[in-house]
């Protein structure tokens, strides 16, 4: 829900501005610091959280500031225009505006725009646009006229769309409105006529715009009190032609239709707009937050002392003039949804492995996250005597990393990744990691030679990933038979689908020993018990029971006798591990993974019989090892537990019993397993019996040590 927090006044002294209010509030290169330009002669830099000014600069008596001061984010300098044509550039340490860099231009300036990631732009009153660099190289250059006579610029905004700057400005001529969209990558200027629709009479009073990938959404607040939306394409089909765009009603009667002045509109995010103005004709002015998706009023705040009808929104703060003071109202909005509003926000997991999860939206990340990267360094040398350290534009490392994933070499990605992991973890850390993995996999699909194995391993080891955060990763590793990544995934991910677990198991059982030898597998869960592979021994056993199903063996007692008669084989079997250490480590990872029996069983049936046998042999071996000590645990750092081993034995037998009883060596294994379990059960029942007798003994013992019911003792208190 959107919420307005407690307002506070930024200035203790009233601004010297007239009824028109301040010229503008602009962001500076440091968060939380804002440049406020008075309509008179003063520019003040405020730190909002401290509610105090950090610096103040004035132009000389007789001069007047005509365009709000902005910050050049590439150099950290401030730019202001006074007397329409005089450009001043200064920075924090300057005291007197009269002594700083000055450039007199040939034409009158309407606005200077500056946003993160690109150089500032100067918009002239006749509609021409220049980059600051180009303008300063030749200040007196001739500026062309773009708009017609009597056409006046009413409003303007500057965006980054796919790393390319786009400027929009609205002009008015005889009650008609026109929108100009200037793209700088192609130098195309498109002109649109804004059609009002049925409401002929209304006068548009305030504009605001937001941008997505294809359209600029221009919102306007009309004098009839309604908010209209106009979609202006960024990439026009025919840029030369004058096109018409129609506005559509978005919100009805957000402010009183009769309000003459003091209404303003600002887009806050996708779904929210802030409207300043009186909600009813008689009422006092209000700041209201509207949800455009649900057409609902989210919150509002009364401003009884009146406003100047101006509203600025920068970095979670709404700025307005309330009475004579510049007031800040912090604004917070959590993403709202209908489900959230109704209190039921259930994340239903799509069982389809290839489906994207709710966490990741790579497309949006591209659209909104990558907008301001890779800015070209300003070529302009600082026009100052002191040497300045050029300020690096503040591009978050995550954005850099995501960009690197798309195009850079594997080495470079690794470097970026290390850089990213070194900084402090943000709350969205895990989603970024998920994005990076998906980005890497997406790139692998596009160019199969690209195989960023080290990066993936590093990413998995951040311990924040889960299967649902990067659905393609394990499929990718399965495809590559990369057992090391599979092992890591099994160890780290809490939510691997059973089908994938089973696919891993198949690979772990079928992969050749030679290829295992080369891989780097974490052997933590395997201690020295897996000494050597005993292929020969298994061979030998099959020979002994080559006929498999001899009638005598149907009787269990006979089998037991047979087992006893062949002690060397039995003991050997129990002391040596049937698989190599590395394979054992991989299988242990399977044993540790979470599963649900119902979903695992059907997949287990697909495993070939000889692999089932090997796995059973290994499990039986682990079980015997477990039973060797009193605590029923295996040595090592993170060994499989007895429960896990038993569960897997049961699972395998459940899934493949008919197959297993038909294979001679497996059948033999089954018999010994049966005997062993039987003996364990009898031991346990004996122990339980003994425990009772021991408890009685203990009780007797206690009674003996207990003193008499009555005694007379000597006590001395000190």
């Amino acid at each position: 829900m959107a919420a307005l927090e407690e307002r506070f006044t930024l200035t203790a002294v009233p601004l010297g501005s007239g009824p028109d209010g301040p010229l503008g509030v602009e962001q500076s290169d440091k968060t939380d610091q804002f440049l406020v330009t008075d309509s008179g002669r003063t520019v003040i830099l405020y730190k909002v959280s401290d509610q105090k000014p950090l610096g103040s600069w004035s132009v000389k008596q007789g001069q007047i500031i005509t365009c709000p001061a902005v910050c050049n984010f590439q150099t950290g300098e401030y730019i202001v225009v006074h007397d329409n044509k005089v450009l001043r550039i200064w920075n924090n340490e300057d005291v007197n505006l009269d002594k700083v860099f000055k450039a007199t231009l040939s034409t009158e300036v309407y606005r200077i725009h500056s946003i993160q990631g690109t150089e500032p732009l100067v918009l002239f009153k006749e509609g021409a646009v220049r980059g600051l660099e180009a303008l300063l190289a030749e200040p007196q250059q001739k500026i062309e006229t773009v708009i017609s006579d009597e056409e006046v610029i009413k409003w303007t905004k500057f965006f980054m769309v796919f790393r390319h700057p786009v400027l929009i400005f609205i002009t008015e001529k005889h009650g008609n409105y026109f929108a100009y969209v200037q793209k700088f990558n192609s130098r195309i200027l498109s002109k649109y006529t804004l059609l009002l629709g049925q409401e002929e009479k209304s006068v548009t009073q305030s504009f605001s715009a937001s941008v997505d990938r294809k359209f600029i959404s221009l919102m306007s607040l009309s004098s009839d009190g309604c908010v209209y939306e106009t979609l202006i394409p960024i990439h026009p089909s025919d840029p030369e032609k004058n096109q018409r765009v129609v506005r559509s009603l978005l919100l009805k009667s957000v402010v009183s239709g009769s309000a003459r002045s003091g209404v303003a509109l600002t887009i806050l995010d996708h779904d929210h707009v802030a409207v300043l103005g009186p909600p009813l004709s008689a009422s006092k002015e209000c700041l209201s937050i509207w949800n455009t998706k649900f057409q609902t009023l989210q919150t509002s705040k009364e401003l009884p002392q009146g406003t100047s009808g101006q509203l600025w929104y920068h970095g979670e703060n709404l700025f307005m003039l309330h009475g004579k003071f510049l007031t800040v109202i912090p604004y917070k909005c959590e993403v709202s949804s209908l489900a959230g509003a109704l209190g039921k926000l259930k994340h239903s997991q799509d069982p389809d492995i290839h489906a994207m999860t709710h966490f990741v939206n790579w497309e949006t990340s591209q659209g909104y996250g990558l907008g301001s990267q890779n800015s070209e360094q300003s070529k302009r040398i600082l026009r100052r005597r002191k040497i300045e350290v050029s300020v690096q534009p503040e591009v978050p490392p995550s954005t850099q990393l995501l960009a690197a994933v798309q195009k850079d070499s594997e080495k470079h990605i690794e470097v970026e990744l290390r850089k990213f992991l070194a900084v402090k973890r943000t709350p969205d850390f895990h989603t970024i990691i998920g994005d990076v993995v998906i980005g890497l996999l997406g790139r692998y699909k596009a160019e199969p030679s690209f195989y960023p194995r080290n990066c993936l391993i590093q990413l998995i080891q951040t311990c924040v990933l889960s299967y649902s955060l990067c659905p393609g990763l394990m499929e990718f590793a399965l495809e590559k038979t990369d057992v090391q990544i599979l092992q890591l995934c099994l160890q780290q991910f809490p939510d691997i689908p059973e089908s994938v677990t089973c696919a891993c198991l198949k690979i772990f059982l079928s992969i050749g020993d030679d290829s295992l030898q080369e891989t780097d597998i974490n052997m933590e869960s395997v201690s020295d018990y897996t000494a050597t592979i005993q292929d020969a021994e298994i061979e030998e056993q099959t020979e002994i029971l080559q006929n498999g199903f001899s009638p005598e063996e149907e009787n269990c007692e006979n089998c037991a006798q047979e087992l006893i008669e062949k002690p060397p084989a039995a003991t050997e079997e129990s002391t040596s591990c049937p698989v190599t250490g590395k394979r054992a480590a991989l299988l242990n990872a399977i044993l540790h993974s979470a599963y649900s029996e119902t979903f695992l069983l059907p997949h287990l049936k697909d495993i070939p019989a000889q692999h089932i046998t090997i796995f059973l042999q290994y499990l039986y071996f682990l079980y015997l090892k477990c039973s060797e000590n009193a605590t029923m645990t295996l040595p090592g750092i993170h060994p499989p537990t007895l429960n896990q081993i038993m569960d897997w034995i049961c699972l395998l037998l459940d899934a493949n019993f008919t197959v297993v009883v038909m294979i001679p060596e497996a059948k033999r294994l089954l018999l010994s397993l049966y005997k062993f379990v039987k003996s364990q059960i009898s031991i346990c029942s004996e122990l339980n019996k003994i425990e009772v007798s021991f408890r009685e003994l203990q009780k007797l013992n206690q009674e003996k040590t207990n003193r008499e019911l009555y005694s007379i003792e000597v006590l001395e208190l000190f």
Partner: protein, 622 residues
């Protein structure tokens, strides 16, 4: 401080009854505990968890069915086939959830019809058990019904649709009790294995508003069935067959980290069950349905500190006096001379005369008790055994003169006008002139027994009185409160004594204030007027008023024996509090004569040995 011969008595075969039900009241911050023997105890959680009242009803558990005028169970509610074992109202009063055997019914109160019958799975660890008993249900305001059952499950049902929403298998044994917090954001369940589980409604992720019930904390403070649980705003309260009442504060709700934030385990009653006839060296033990009279043994030997002396005569069990009828004994007393025994149940008062002829005892009931002596909360004999003081539950104190085999009603001190508080503690001065009586919250009243009028009232204090006694000669009244404060009030001067003012000014030692059992008995040394003897369940203390008071830096209690002569002298004069923790749990301690103490202990192991065996947990082959 002196050397004592201590009669260490462990033959008081007292076993507290199991807790059957607990109920917490938020407004008064009081807890009601009912036990299997029918007693009801009220604990004041604000007053250091002091047991304020003990009421004994007729000793049987009655099931009351309270129905609003409009609804009559028989007619309007659909009849159920089997017993209803648990019941919970929807907070709005529109629906009732009733737990039965194998199913839960949801009733609409208006129509009286069962709108849902939710069948509970009998399966228990894959094996079909005979029956699944719903031991407890809780109805939340959003319509969720939480049930606990004998198959070890905690289940969440949607009462609107009658469907199972969530299932938690938490125990291999019955889950027997459930209590939900007022905010409905947390609840507590108790299992037959003695485990208490805390469930909380927590957000699924840090940012989302979706919440779900999660089992957060298990506690194992009990050895036996947890039959009853309660949820106060800051603590989980549980009790069961093992007779302990456990109050476990939730640390996240505790605002001030004081001693209230510690776990409380209340095992023993906060009142005396033992009385002593000093001259005859007799002990009277009070049980729920009988009294036992024992004579202490003797020795002729002497020894040094810590020695156990050979007995020349062992203790004798003289008398086993059974009550008539099903009612529990509320209080009992033996006179100092040992020739009178009085006890009271909820509706009757009994007085007996004892005659000793060598080894034979002749017990004679004094008949024709006056009508006003129906039930007493406290009984006390004067030091010379000529007067009997009875605190009735209407707030009055009766004074009765005892003659050979008969009695005469002298006077009744009526309660102060406007107060209905009953007196539950009495103390009489050794010279027989003064009687102090105290209720739970108002001040202590001091009556002049000679003139039969109220002498003065000690100002009321925030915390209830736990023990009272009047010192010989000085007639100073010593009062112990549940917050561990001890006051000394001079009855003749009608003001607090200088020593009491000094210790209030300086404050008690922090370790003294942190003790969690109340002082239940105070006595005095006949030859050492500066000494006060008092005890709680875990320590016994002699306060020597002539010595300096300890401050928080001094060692209050030194468990080590002194090493040499100078250490003995240094310790003797160090500070006023001489503490011994040798005897515990201590139910009673008193001075028989100048050099002899009697201590009645009740080791926990002996109580456990008498409880039914707990659910056996397999150690092997699990």
């Amino acid at each position: 401080m002196g050397e004592f011969k201590v009669h260490r008595v462990r033959f008081f075969n007292y076993v507290p009854s199991g807790i059957r039900c607990v109920a917490y009241n938020n407004q008064s911050n009081r807890l009601a505990v009912s036990r299997t023997d029918g007693t009801v105890e009220i604990y004041n959680l604000s007053a250091n968890y002091f047991q304020e009242k003990v009421g004994c009803e007729d000793g049987s558990v009655k099931l009351f069915q309270i129905t609003p005028d409009k609804i009559q169970f028989e007619r309007n509610f659909d009849r159920q086939k089997s017993r209803i074992l648990s019941l919970s109202w929807h907070p709005a009063g529109t629906h009732i959830a009733a737990g039965s055997i194998d199913y839960i019914s949801v009733f609409d109160v208006k129509s009286g019809s069962a709108i849902h019958k939710m069948l509970v799975d009998r399966q228990y660890m894959g094996v079909s058990k005979r029956k699944c008993i719903i031991w407890g249900v809780a109805f939340l305001s959003d319509g969720t019904v939480i049930s606990v059952d004998s198959a070890g499950k905690v289940q969440f049902w949607d009462s609107a649709t009658g469907t199972l929403v969530k299932n938690h298998l938490i125990a291999n044994a019955d889950v027997q009790s459930i209590a939900i917090s007022d905010q409905e954001d947390s609840f507590v369940v108790g299992t037959a294995e003695g485990t208490v589980f805390h469930f909380q409604l927590v957000s699924v992720t840090s940012s989302s508003s979706e919440k779900q019930w999660v089992r957060t904390k298990p506690f194992q403070h009990h050895t036996h069935d947890v039959r009853a649980v309660a949820h106060s705003p800051i603590a989980l309260i549980s009790g069961g067959t093992d007779t302990h009442l456990v109050i476990r504060p939730l640390m996240e709700k505790v605002e001030v980290k004081n001693y209230d934030a510690a776990l409380r385990k209340i095992t023993f009653p906060h009142r005396r069950l033992v009385s002593c006839a000093k001259k005859k060296q007799l002990l009277l033990f009070q049980f729920a349905h009988h009294l036992e009279l024992w004579r202490l043994g003797s020795t002729v030997a002497t020894g040094k500190n810590g020695d156990t002396l050979p007995l020349s005569k062992n203790a004798d069990h003289l008398l086993h006096l059974k009550t008539k009828g099903p009612e529990n004994i509320i209080c009992s007393c033996i006179s100092p001379c040992g020739s009178w025994i009085a006890y009271s149940t909820a509706s009757r008062f009994f007085l007996y005369r004892l005659n000793y002829e060598h080894d034979n005892i002749n017990l004679q009931r004094v008949s024709k008790m006056p009508a006003f002596l129906r039930s007493a909360l406290q009984i006390l004999f004067s030091e010379d055994s000529t007067k009997l003081f009875v605190a009735s539950n209407q707030g009055s104190v009766h004074v009765i003169r005892l003659l050979e085999g008969s009695f005469k009603h002298l006077h009744t001190f009526q309660p102060q006008s406007g107060t209905v508080e009953s007196m539950c503690l009495l103390a009489v001065s050794p010279d027989g002139n003064w009687l102090a009586a105290s209720g739970t919250s108002a001040g202590v009243h001091v009556y002049n027994v000679k003139q039969l009028k109220l002498h003065c009232t000690v100002p009321a204090y925030n915390f209830p009185v736990t023990a009272l006694a009047i010192a010989p000669n000085t007639n100073n009244l010593v009062i112990a409160h549940s917050d561990q404060q001890v006051f000394e009030y001079s009855i003749p001067d009608k003001q607090y004594t200088q020593w009491s003012r000094t210790i209030q000014k300086q404050g008690f030692h922090h370790l003294w204030l942190q003790r969690d059992t109340p002082i239940t008995h105070i006595s005095f040394h006949p030859k050492r007027p500066m000494h006060i003897l008092l005890h709680d369940a875990y320590m016994f203390c002699i306060i020597d008023k002539s010595l300096p008071l300890p401050n928080d830096k001094t060692l209050l209690y030194n468990p080590l024996p002194p090493t040499n002569e100078s250490d003995i002298i240094r310790r003797r004069t160090a500070h006023a509090f001489k503490i011994s923790k040798k005897y515990k749990p201590l139910l009673f301690m008193d001075l028989l004569d100048e050099r002899t103490l009697v201590a009645v202990e009740r080791p926990l192991d002996d109580i456990i040995a008498q409880l039914p065996p707990p659910i056996k947990k397999k150690k092997f082959g699990t």
